[in-house]
Every structure is written in C-alpha cells, then in structure tokens.
C-alpha cells in the first residue's frame, strides 16, 4: 500500500514525521538529506522512534537507547533485540510517499497483545 506522508518542504533535515496509521510509521529526514521510513514503535517497549535521537543514519530510542539503522532496520544493542521494519520512500511532486512493507512488523509485546485483541 502506498501512503502520502507530508510535503518534503514541511520536513526539515534532522526531523521525523509520524504517520498515525496502525501500526504507526515514521519518515526520517537525515542531516545529509536522505529520507527513510521505518515502523515508529520501538521493538522493545511502547516508545515512538520519531521522538528519538537522530544521528547519521541511526535513530536512538528515546526511552532505553537501543539504536536502529534506518537503512536496514537492524538494532545495535539491548534492550531491544528485534529489528524494525523498513518501508520504501519516494518523493513525487514535492510530496513524500511511503510504500508499506508487506512483512510482518516486530511489535513490542505490549502492543502486539493489543493488536491481537488481548489485554494491553
């Protein structure tokens, strides 16, 4: 599925834009001007990576500091153990679009339980 995110001019370098879909996805504009999209929820617990510390091609989770590689989704170190899903991004007529991955997301246990209809 393809989703329009926001206008490129509205997303300055060093910032992230969260799409409130379920599960949420965020687009990151790096200081070098590259665009990446990943699942917004940290795979460890319920934290929004759009709130994280963006440096180079990595974002550090705002809660417990696991870092995710925006290019591959790979996680560097505990407490998170699983990668985040990455999505394809492209710009058309100044508009950023995200093509959602068909892979299953790696959601933290608390969110996965909610999506499965269990207790939050």
């Amino acid at each position: 599925m393809m989703i329009p995110a926001c206008r490129l001019e509205d997303l300055p370098r060093g910032e992230a834009h969260r799409l409130d879909i379920d599960p949420p996805v965020s687009v990151f504009h790096t200081d070098d001007g590259e665009l990446f999209a990943i699942d917004d929820t940290c795979t460890h617990q319920d934290a929004s990576l759009a709130d994280g510390w963006l440096e180079g091609c990595e974002v550090e989770c705002p809660l417990h500091a696991s870092k995710f590689d925006l290019r591959t989704g790979a996680v560097d170190a505990p407490p998170a153990k699983l990668p985040v899903r990455t999505h394809e991004v492209f710009v058309e007529d100044g508009m950023i679009h995200v093509r959602l991955s068909m892979d299953a997301p790696n959601l933290p246990p608390c969110i996965a339980a909610r999506l499965a209809g269990g207790p939050a």
Binding site: A47, D51, W53, L63, A65, P78, K81, P109
Partner: protein, 387 residues
C-alpha cells in the same frame, strides 16, 4: 593482546565483550560471573518481571543466536586480581591468565544490619532476589518498603498494582532529593500519595521486629509499622572487595579515568563498580545507571586495546529512566549544583512535567515525566551544550 578476562557477567561485562569483538579483538575472551545466569536485564526486575507480565526468558540481554566467541565461566566468583602475575583467581582455586582485564562486577544491594535470617525481608538486585520477592508479593498483604529511592519507589508502584497495602519509609525529608533536588523530588514522590501508597518521611528505621518472620518495621520515633513483607531499598555498594590488595586504586568503587583506565596497566573498569572521572565537572562520579553500563565499555575497550594511547572523548551526560505508577520518568545530567529549576512544559499537578535545571543560566540537567519527545530534545541540547 591474546587473552582478555572480563570479570562480571551482566550488562557492563556483556557490553565490554561486544565492544571488544566490534573493535576487532579476535583473541581469547573469558567472561567470569558469580551468578549462574547468562547476562540478564535488571530494570524489569522491579517492574514488569515483578508484576508477572514479563517472563524469565525475556530478560536475556543476548540476542537469539548471538555468538561472541566467549568462554563463559558462570557461578565462578573472582576473589583476587594478581596484577603482577596477570591472573584472576577464582573462589574454587582456579586461575584465569590474561593480558587484559575488564572489571565489571557492578554493585550489590545494601542490607539492614540485624535483618539477616528474618523471613519476609527482601532486597532486590538479582534475578534470584526478584523471583523470591515476586512469589511473596503474590500472596498479598502489607508491604513496607524501606527507602524511597528509585528501586523502592518502583517496587511500591508494582506492589500497589498487584493489590498490596503499601507503605514507603524514607529517612530524608523528601525522597529522591539527592538525584532530583528537593522540588522535583517532592513532585515525583507525590505519585505515591496519588495512588494511596503511604509515604512516611523524615524518620529513620530503628530495626525490624518478628521472631522468625518479620511482623513490623520499627521507626526511630517509636512508631511501629505492621508488615507482612519488607523490602529494603537503601542503595547499593560497589562490588570491589575482591580487588583489595591488588594495587588497584579504590575509592567508592574502582577509581578510573574518563575512558575507564585504572592506575594499573591493561586493566579498565566499567559499569556500576566504576568511579569515573567526569571531565566536565572535574571530579569522579560513580553512576549506577543502565545506559552508562551499556555505553561506556566502548571507550574503555578502545583504551584497553590501544594500550591507553587513545584520547578519551567527553561522554554524554548520564541518563536514567524509571517507571512508576504508569508514569515514565527520565532524567539526564546532574541536579547537584543547579541553582534553579523551571517547569517548562506540562504541570506538576498533572504529573507530566518537563523541568530544566540550570546553574548560572546554563542547563545542567533535565527531568521528564511522561514527556519523552521534549525530554529527548532537551537531552540532546544538554549533551551539545556540555561537550
């Protein structure tokens, strides 16, 4: 370097082993730990694990299938560092010879003198402690937590959610005043009262009463607080006794430089047992937080592998988090030395504040309660400002 011995098999020890491999060390790597468990995560022990929402398997710090090529010596206690002979001696008489050493023995919970052997009295530092406490909390009853610091407050919050009747006793007039300062310590510890958890402040604990099992906590003002379970959360001491006599400089832990180097060649120290030099403040600090134990081994290992020939970078201001009563508490920097603290977003009454601590107008620390986004911005500024 042909063999590196890491002593302490928890977060700092594992992070050191990972840093060694990441930085290209391909020699023999021995990790010695006195617990029988592979490295596991401690923060959940007072939170999700104690609450029963996270199982033991999920505490593992190593990723599935991760292989660092480590020889694990578990259930093995180091009792001596023989620097001249370049060896660590273990309690069972074995010796591990190595040319590089990483000291990562962490800290142990302080106990209350006279409480030994009394059933129902717990401390919380290890998985075994947490299992025992969890089983006891499951039976319900009256819990008295001695110490209103972070561990005490988290246990109180978790036990409250499990339906126990909870009282927290704190000797200082305001809990958390040390790490957070008076004003914010009062705001954060007001979370207890919000949930009907009693907070008794400004009075010390004289002792415990009970024959074989604790039945009350006796206060210095003569009061007694009836208790079925007691948790002693009065801080931790660095595990460095085993290093006495080794020639390593000890002072509130292993005294080391900003890059973890000790006064002994080929020996670095990391994590809760290390009293690091803070170049910004110009003094040594022992910081007992997860993120430091996870990140600082990178610098210490670089120093070890380079034989001390690298210039240490300035580490980020220390950071920690705590979860209490569903509120995410985050703190970075040092509150001590601040001459003002301002709430810049949210409101104390809503328990969702973002507060900035300043000294002579410059930010020195930041506290967030349920403000991860703003907190991260401020934390970034703090790091940039301080470097």
């Amino acid at each position: 370097m042909r063999t590196v011995a890491v002593v302490g098999a928890s977060l700092a020890g594992l992070s050191a082993a990972r840093s060694l491999r990441k930085q290209g060390y391909d020699g023999r790597l021995v990790v010695i730990g006195d617990e029988f468990h592979r490295p596991y995560d401690r923060p959940p022990l007072s939170k999700e694990f104690l609450a029963g929402t996270l199982g033991e398997g999920e505490l593992a710090l190593e990723a599935d299938g991760e292989d660092l090529g480590v020889e694990w010596l578990l259930g093995a206690q180091a009792v001596e560092l023989d620097h001249a002979g370049r060896a660590v001696r273990l309690a069972d008489g074995r010796e591990v010879h190595a040319d590089g050493f990483v000291i990562a023995t962490g800290a142990a919970a302080r106990t209350l003198p006279g409480s030994e052997g009394l059933a129902g009295v717990h401390t919380l530092r290890t998985l075994d402690d947490a299992r025992a406490l969890r089983d006891e909390l499951a039976r319900g009853g009256r819990l008295v937590v001695i110490g209103g610091g972070f561990i005490g407050a988290e246990v109180a919050s978790t036990a409250y959610a499990l339906g126990l009747d909870v009282t927290v006793v704190e000797a200082a007039p305001t809990p958390l005043a040390g790490p957070l300062g008076e004003t914010m310590g009062a705001i954060v510890s007001a979370l207890h009262a919000d949930h009907g958890v009693r907070l008794v402040c400004g009075v010390g604990v004289k002792g415990l009463s009970g024959e074989t099992r604790v039945d009350a906590v006796l206060l210095e003002d003569g009061r007694g607080l009836p208790a079925d379970i007691v948790v002693v959360g009065v801080g931790a001491r660095p595990c460095v006794e085993w290093l006495e006599g080794s020639g390593i400089a000890l002072d509130n832990g292993v005294k080391c430089g900003a890059d973890g180097r000790t006064n002994l060649a080929g020996v670095v120290a990391v994590g809760d047992c290390a009293n690091w030099y803070d170049p910004r403040a110009g003094l040594h600090r022992r910081v007992e937080h997860w993120t430091g134990a996870r990140e600082r081994p990178d610098a210490a290992v670089a120093t070890l592998l380079a034989g001390g020939a690298v210039q240490p970078g300035v580490p980020r201001p220390p950071y920690f988090w705590s979860d209490q009563y569903g509120v995410k508490i985050q703190f970075a920097g040092h509150a001590a030395g601040a001459d003002s603290v301002t709430i810049e977003a949210g409101a104390a009454d809503d328990r969702d504040v973002l507060a900035v601590y300043r000294r002579a107008g410059r930010p020195v620390a930041v506290l967030g309660m349920n403000q991860p986004r703003l907190f991260m911005r401020r934390r970034k500024e703090l790091a940039a400002d301080a470097s």
